[in-house]
Amino acid sequence: MDVYLPGTGGAQIHDLNPTQFPPVGLFWTVPIPVGGVQVDLDNGKASMQASKVPIFDYGTLQNATSIGSSPPPTPGWVSFKVIWQGGTASMPVNSTDPTKGIFSGTFASCMAQIEWQAQAGDFSFESDPLETSSSTFAEIGQEMNGSYLTV
């Protein structure tokens, strides 16, 4: 979650992500219970929710990825619910470009919304309701990569 000061060009003031510094292994990625994700590709929708995922607040993305200690990350947690809907036209994607990742799949563009809560250090966070959020990019689909591409 990237929180900014209001206004155009407002500085980032919170960067909440689940990866310790330096970022290694699965980046910003954590396992969640299988029941936390519901997928209905036939109807172009999906949802994801999780409760109290451990995170760190690095303040800024730059601090999270390249500095790590300015300011020192503050541990906390985040809970969230995300929905994807309106994905009706799946398109095949086959990428052999290493700058985009090598994978194959089908994806449908759609819209997504989120509501979330978090706590880190001296702050708690409560987003506006899910329906007030909007996506600039969203897609759902199926894919395979790595060794599955050669099977």
Partner: protein, 127 residues
């Protein structure tokens, strides 16, 4: 100091993987038995390979691999979402209202081959 670098523009670097699910997992107060079954891993997923010249293994966005896990086969959702959040300073109760911008949220659910070379089911959130 701030940056507006979109997360989805970051590249990747496979920097090694030692993710123990039991340590990093989200809580599931509703189904602790399922959580226990899911997350006591003795292996680790393999991060996707870095794009040339990049050190972080994060693709994402239209036409790019939105999986952070290599050797993965399954369903994926990815999004950049904007909205507003109320921040409360817990010691004083002071509240402020801020935008959150391009929250990069993803799920990956399906099968993957871990560092043990074996196939496993897994469900992951990119936060």
């Amino acid at each position: 100091m701030s940056t507006n670098l979109p997360r989805r523009k970051l590249g990747f670097g496979a920097l090694g993987a030692t993710l123990l699910g039991s340590a990093a997992a989200a809580q599931d107060d509703d189904n602790p038995r399922e959580r226990k079954r899911q997350l006591l891993w003795t292996f680790a997923p393999v991060p996707v390979t870095a794009a040339p010249g990049n050190f972080l293994h994060v693709f994402g966005g239209p036409g790019e691999d939105n999986s952070t896990i290599s050797n993965f086969k399954g369903s994926i959702g990815s999004a950049l979402i904007n909205g507003n959040v109320t921040r409360t300073k817990t010691k004083t109760g002071q509240q402020d209202y801020f935008p959150f911008i391009n929250a990069n949220m993803r799920f990956m659910t399906g099968m993957f081959k871990g560092t043990d070379g074996q196939e496993h089911p897994g469900t992951f959130a990119f936060v």
